[in-house]
């Protein structure tokens, strides 16, 4: 009798574990289909482009981004009031370069 009670207890415990496991969402499950620069880095680029190119900060906006050629960097396309700039920033938030491209 004690043995069957033990088996029943073990089975109940296993069921509980299984139930918990089936409802626990896996961690770190989401990514974007394309790697873009984090929003804060994009905006740092826009702000720096406005400063270096002497345009109003209210008139600039990041419009696209992608990983840079050098590891740990991103390239950010910045729309200016007139034309566009390319900003390169590293993942620590340091501006590598800013250049007007059109």
């Amino acid at each position: 009798m004690f043995r069957s009670l033990g088996i029943m207890g073990l089975a109940s415990a296993l069921l509980l574990v299984a139930a918990c496991a089936s409802t626990t969402p896996p961690a770190a499950t989401i990514r974007s289909s394309a790697l873009t620069a984090p929003a804060d880095l994009q905006l740092l680029c826009a702000s720096e482009a406005a400063t270096r190119l002497s345009v109003a900060a209210s008139g600039v906006l990041p419009i696209a981004s992608r990983p840079g050629a050098a590891g740990g960097t991103f390239e950010v396309d910045v729309k200016l009031p007139s034309g566009q700039a390319l900003c390169v920033i590293d993942d620590k938030g340091t501006i590598v370069s800013v250049a007007k491209v059109s």
Binding site: S22, T23, T24, P25, P26, A27, A28, T29, I30, R31, S32, S33, A34, T36, P38, A39, D40, L41, Q42, L43, L44, S47, S58, G59, V60, L61, P62, I63, A64, S65, D77, K79, P81, Q84, G93
Partner: protein, 226 residues
């Protein structure tokens, strides 16, 4: 209109068309969407509405990444500014000391995404939803609400709405709640930014009319020619 293909222009209507007309995206079109890791197959798969619904049904919530959380955020923007990363499906509310509250969002589907700098012009609790004519044309079931659907749990705008204005005019875009909480993380709307009702209620309590809103989205039409 450079940068927007004829096909895309034909797909645009309502909010999307308004965006394109006002800003003519010069960026290359690049639809970015969410993917989820399939541990069984050991591969990344598209996080589409069907999978999003399955996930929500299985776990009773959206994936952890889309839940409200405080994160580091290096920015010169003032605390209280809202920054939307449409590619990664995050809305940031800038806080002091280089921090932000991050919320998961749903954004405009292909052809309906946009980017720009706008402001919160009006705020409403349990808003009435009135589908624009273009939305009724796309789905005649919406005709019953042509004069407005009262606020409530079934209302597509959810518990709160922040109406986005530019130059003192309504853009017709909103940050709002949703009756479809599983849809966070998807490109699914007609250009509005949706949060689940708990999150939009939290955000609503932290912002005011006049709040600056910066919307980033790769390759999207610019709402204004910034």
């Amino acid at each position: 209109m450079s940068g927007i293909s004829r096909r895309r222009m034909l797909e645009l209507s309502g909010a999307g068309l308004a965006a394109a007309m006002l800003g003519a995206g010069e960026a290359q079109a690049q639809a970015v969407y969410s993917q989820i890791y399939d541990a069984k197959r050991k591969t990344w798969i598209d996080y589409d509405p069907k999978r999003a619904m399955q996930y929500y049904k299985a776990y009773g919530s959206v994936p952890e990444e889309f839940k409200r959380q405080t994160v580091s955020f290096r920015t010169a923007e003032k605390p209280g500014t809202i920054i939307i990363d449409g590619d990664r499906h995050f809305l940031y509310l800038v806080r002091p000391e280089f921090q932000a509250i991050r919320y998961g969002i749903g954004v405009g589907r292909d052809g309906f995404g946009w980017a720009g700098i706008v402001k919160v012009g009006r705020m409403v609790e349990w808003p009435t939803w009135t589908p624009p004519a273009e939305m009724i044309a796309r789905d005649p079931r919406n005709a019953q609400w042509a004069n407005g659907m009262p606020g409530g749990p079934e209302n597509p705008l959810g518990a709160r709405a922040m109406y986005l204005y530019e130059g003192g005019k309504d853009t017709i875009y909103r940050i709002h709640g949703t009756a479809e909480p599983w849809s966070i993380g998807l490109n699914i709307s007609s250009g509005c930014i949706r949060l689940n009702n708990d999150d939009v209620t939290d955000l609503y309590a932290r912002v005011a009319v006049g709040t600056k809103v910066i919307v980033l989205m790769s390759g999207a039409a610019l709402y204004r020619g910034v």
